[in-house]
């Protein structure tokens, strides 16, 4: 068992490496983050501008 753990061919691929090897997960993150933080947040602010007194 202990020697299995050390064998690089059987060791589990680290989480971050699996993330970086998954293009569609990255695509999802790369589109969602700017859409929410830049576009949606910005649009929300623009729609809340009050009418001049």
């Amino acid at each position: 068992m202990a020697s299995d753990q050390k064998d690089p061919d059987k060791e589990r691929v680290p989480f971050m490496q699996r993330v970086l090897d998954n293009p569609f997960l990255l695509l999802f993150l790369g589109v969602t983050i700017p859409t929410v933080l830049y576009i949606l947040w910005g649009v929300m602010e623009l729609t809340q501008i009050p009418v001049a007194p």
Partner: protein, 560 residues
């Protein structure tokens, strides 16, 4: 399933799908054509800005400026990037390209869109600048062309993702994709956000130009438009960083210092780089300071962190490779004895240095929320982005062309001496353009302005004398850059159409004292003092220039 035929590259041993090869060629050639057209427009713009020459009349100046932005900032760059995407997926992964027919559909849509928009601009009814801010309205086919182009490019990006899927399913590579392909993936992801935003805002604007929608809100337009306009420049950054790594690998056999660090830096791009679209909205009404500070800083400068990492790891990997080859003396023997006569290297290295020092630093400084007040819409802005997209991206793309011509087009480079000097002339010219426009901008000179003497204005005003000098020097630099650009087009056209066919191996690797060791870069033996000195100088310049601009800001009228 379409039949794919391959040839085996005698230099690299890679299997090249002939369908992909044809698509790469077509997109690269279209890119160079638009570079030539757009570059010519750019020269006329610079010569008009030079007060003593003042080449074009006002209407032609604004028309040429619109066409210049469109042809080089969008068409040249994106066509070339599509070529890079196909190369980095199909060729580097030994894989057939997904749906080559759709690749041609994408190509013809992009080409038709580009031509339609160019025609619209040249007809004179669409002098609205590259940004086409409403309520200023262009002709209907101006928007239609842009939409066609964006959708075509989106299809091409889809083919890139499809090819990644096929390569994984058919196991054409072992383990993870190469770092260069990962950089291309970063560019492709940003491209999806970019092109989708473009379609989202340009389709209603097109309907508005046909009278089907009554108004387009100018602020809302600007918010979404810059999600395309600025992010498209972030595709460039990702793509040209990938190109830097590719050239370093092809010329020196350089390995990334650490796969983890370099990929992590690209991940920071994927997550945060696109937020910087806010750089264009820092002096806009209606958006809160919280939104501005968060977005303009790419979420606490995490994407800048990514760029600063690449700024270390790209030259660092070259230094490590060169030292392994025996160029190990002092700080800079590795750099002195680099192949400076090879345009692929000289172009790549100048691109790296100028992107950092000219484009990078100025971009972060200008993108500081408050400092933007003293720079917005002055000539500082084009000064900055000629440092990023021309000195950075265009020069890097030119550099890799000198490798793609023998490897993909399988032609020898014609006029090698012209090719040898081309990056220097172009680089020097662009550095001048960037610096002198930033200088004029610091003096307050407006961008997109035909006459800085205000001769026809109802009131009197003149910019400081020094601004006139800056614009004259900008004109001279533009002539140098245009000549460098012309050399590039001549070499490319001559080599591609009249070059001798390459037989057998291409000699790529730099002359070496010792052959590069196959595996190095282990964390114990890394020695890159020269690169550390370079990034140290960069860091000091960055910090000083940053605080100098806060000092400038503190001198203007108090406002809140």
């Amino acid at each position: 399933m379409s039949e794919a035929t391959f040839r085996t590259c005698p230099t690299t041993g890679l299997k090249v799908d002939l369908n992909a090869q044809k698509l790469i060629k077509a997109n690269a050639v279209a890119a160079v054509v638009f570079l030539a057209i757009g570059g010519l427009f750019g020269l006329t713009v610079a010569l008009t800005r030079w007060p003593a020459v003042h080449l074009l009349p006002a209407d032609w100046f604004y028309l040429a400026l619109t066409a210049h932005g469109l042809d080089v900032l969008l068409l040249w760059i994106i066509f070339f990037e599509i070529a890079v995407l196909y190369f980095a997926s199909s060729t580097l992964l030994n894989c057939r390209i997904a749906a080559p027919r759709w690749g041609w559909v994408a190509f013809w849509m992009m080409l038709a869109g580009g031509l339609i928009t160019n025609v619209a601009v040249l007809q004179g009814q669409s002098t609205v600048m590259f940004t086409s801010y409403p309520p200023m309205m262009a002709a209907q086919h101006f928007y239609l062309g842009l939409i066609l182009f964006a959708v075509g490019a989106l299809v091409a990006v889809g083919i890139f993702f499809g090819t990644l899927v096929i390569a994984r399913e058919e196991r054409t590579y072992e383990g993870s994709i190469p770092l260069v392909t990962f950089g291309a993936l970063t560019a492709a992801i940003i491209a999806v956000f970019t092109l989708a935003s473009g379609a989202v805002i340009l389709i209603p604007t097109w309907l508005w130009s046909m009278g089907l929608i009554s108004t387009i809100d100018p602020l809302m337009y600007k918010l979404v438009w810059w999600a395309m306009g600025h992010s498209s420049q972030q595709i460039n950054v990702s793509a040209h960083v990938a190109v830097w790594y590719a050239i370093a690998a092809m010329l020196f056999g350089a390995r990334p210092l650490s796969e983890k660090v370099s990929r992590g830096a690209f991940l920071l791009y994927i997550l945060f780089l696109q937020l910087a679209s806010a750089h264009h909205l820092l002096v806009e009404p209606g958006l809160s300071s919280e939104w501005k500070v968060f977005n303009t800083s790419y979420a606490m400068y995490l994407a800048v962190l990514g760029s600063m990492i690449h700024g270390l790891t790209v030259p660092g990997s070259i230094e490590a490779a060169q030292r392994r080859r025996g160029f190990d003396k002092g700080f800079f023997e590795w750099l002195r004895k680099a192949p400076w006569g090879n345009p692929a290297f000289s172009g790549m290295f100048m691109s790296l240095v100028m992107f950092g020092f000219l484009g990078g630093i100025s971009g972060v400084v200008m993108g500081t929320e408050q400092i933007n007040i003293i720079m917005h819409n002055t000539l500082y802005v084009p000064g900055h982005f000629h440092g990023t997209v021309v000195a950075g991206t265009t020069l890097a793309f030119m550099a890799i062309t000198y490798l793609l011509i023998p490897l993909i087009f399988q032609r020898e480079i014609r006029f090698p001496r012209l090719a040898k000097w081309q990056p220097y002339l172009f680089g020097l010219g662009v550095a001048g353009i960037s610096l002198f426009m930033m200088g004029a901008g610091t003096l307050g000179v407006s961008r997109r302005h035909w006459d800085i003497t205000f001769a026809d204005a109802p009131l009197d005003f003149s910019y400081p004398e020094a601004a006139f000098l800056m614009l004259a020097l900008n004109g001279l630099s533009a002539i140098a850059a245009a000549l460098g650009g012309l050399f590039y087009v001549v070499v490319v056209v001559a080599s591609v159409f009249f070059g001798r066919k390459v037989e057998g191996r291409v000699a790529l690797e730099a002359p070496a004292g010792k052959s590069a060791v196959a595996s190095y870069g282990s964390s114990e033996s890394l020695k890159i003092p020269g690169t550390l000195l370079l990034v140290g100088v960069f860091f000091v310049a960055f910090v000083l220039y940053y605080f100098v601009n806060w000092k400038y800001l503190s001198d203007i009228w108090p406002m809140r």
